[in-house]
Amino acid sequence: MNDTPLLQVEGLSKRFGRIAACDDIGFDLHDGEVLGIVGESGSGKTTLLRCLSALIAPDRGTVRYRMRDGSRRDVFALSEPERRLLMRTDWGFVHQNPRDGLRAHVSAGANVAERLMAVGARHYGEIRERATDWLARVEVDTARIDDAPRTFSGGMQQRVQIARNLVTHPRLVFMDEPTGGLDVSVQARLLDLLRGLTADLGLSAVIVTHDLAVARLLSHRLMVMRGGQVVEAGLTDQVLDDPQHPYTQLLVNSVLQP
């Protein structure tokens, strides 16, 4: 473990017209740490995730990332080739809708293998072996490696998307409602898998969710957002079991009722 944060966010703000989607947000994320961001829709959590993952540029603030060589770089000061390379090697992004993160018309195997080929792998046998291996790790039937994702169930598509992201051994994964839109039983198994993978691989992750149960299961630390601001932050259990801010209290009471 490294004492320097993997991701360091300071003063991040993003406005859309008169609306402040993110207002002066800052936090550190260390190796192997999973940060949950919760809030209702419109709270700014998705905008924050898109800024953090360099999909959109913030109006103010910095996002610094510790690269594999140890140097710390402002994500928005990277050149486009550097940023794109970072995004397809050291980072992952798991979309809520697997259609946004998968190529619908190519096979599950090719979806997983694409990142490998993008960084120069040119041995078909080895590429296929690694794709097979990853499909097995996310518990997808490897006999279906040549089937297109559209023939898979929603839960299975999400697993393929996760494998596609992890095949290059990223250190940081962004997840946007990774279990949203799935049946409860499917959700539970997927959450188990995600918890196992982040722990086994020592992954750092930022997970956006409106579902406090998901946040409790996956994240070590929690940030509660409302109206573009962080109203409460801390260890997950602390925030959920002993909420301090009235809004967090409301959220916990309304959602976690038995």
């Binding site: 080739p81 080929m117 296929r128």
Partner: protein, 297 residues
């Protein structure tokens, strides 16, 4: 030559080789840029030509910008000098320039081609001009030019290999047989135009300059002499060309690309060279198939 060369073009009010000199210069500038960046698609302001787009306007404009009174032009389509479109383009240049045309590959200074590379090796004082329908090798994987331009700029060619991967996963081998993508000068992935993959190896370190014109898509690109042109593949699934069990029924050649000719409606077939000059010259050289009787046209 002392005869007025392009009297017909002049008489009809057209400039030598149809295009005005300024347009030719603009085209040559684009071609110079293309030569300087092998495999890179250079935009140019393609003109409407008297032939339809898709019928070789790119190649015709490239040829028109280069051709001079002393040039000797050969035009082939599908390897043959005598297919309708080759005849039409050759006739156009004869009318518009008055230059000599030929069917003999080694006599030509410029060879304009659609979908083939001549069997006979070209020399360093010849130029091969390809007609190109879709210059963008990534087009069918990513339709947006704004995106493909970025992929080229950043050398992000993983997508191309996704396609090859899919072929192998599905068919056991790479199932692209023509317009087979190549890596030029270890930098740009390029569409070699719809030549059969049989011709791809001929492009590698070719002695002559290869120019590519796509009129409708407004792009030219080039492979300078002695430039590396490698067909994309996997280490364990290397690129391989088509082979035939037959030899040419007319000239007996075993090393050329063969067209299949249907001879009757009972399943009769024969295989003959697609390169008509190569075939007839071999026959002239005496290597005639005994089966061939009346070959005269």
């Amino acid at each position: 030559m002392t005869m007025p060369l392009h009297t017909e073009a002049r008489a009809a009010g057209y400039n030598f080789a149809f295009l005005d000199e300024q347009t030719k210069r603009a085209l040559r500038r684009a071609l110079l840029k293309a030569v300087a960046i092998p495999g890179y698609q250079v935009p140019f302001a393609s003109r409407e030509m008297p032939m339809p787009f898709g019928w070789g306007t790119g190649g015709i404009q490239v040829t028109a910008s280069l051709i001079g009174p002393d040039d000797v032009l050969k035009v082939i389509d599908q390897g043959s000098d005598d297919t309708t479109n080759a005849v039409s383009i050759r006739k156009f240049f004869r009318r518009m320039t008055g230059v000599r045309t030929t069917e003999r590959t080694e006599e030509a200074t410029i060879v304009q081609t659609r979908h083939r590379v001549p069997e006979r090796a070209l020399s360093d004082d010849q130029i091969l001009v390809y007609q190109v329908p879709i210059p963008e090798p990534l087009r069918y994987l990513e339709p947006r030019e704004t995106e493909t331009r970025k992929l080229h700029a950043l050398s992000e060619y993983g997508l191309m290999h996704v396609k090859l991967y899919e072929d192998i996963a599905r068919h056991g081998h790479i199932a692209t047989t023509y317009a087979y993508p190549v890596m030029v000068g270890d930098r740009y992935v390029m569409d070699p135009s719809p030549i059969p993959k049989f011709d791809n190896p001929k492009m590698h370190r070719m002695r002559s300059l290869q120019l590519f014109g796509a009129g409708r898509e407004q792009r030219v690109y080039a492979v300078p002499p002695f430039t590396s042109v490698r067909s994309l593949d996997f280490e364990d699934h290397p690129f391989a060309v088509q082979t035939w069990d037959q030899t040419c029924a007319l000239c007996g050649a075993g090393d050329s690309f063969l067209d299949e000719i249907v001879t009757d409606d009972r399943g009769g077939r024969m295989f003959v060279c697609s390169d008509s000059d190569y075939c007839s010259r071999r026959r002239g050289d005496g290597e005639t198939d005994p089966a061939r009787g009346a070959a005269a046209e």
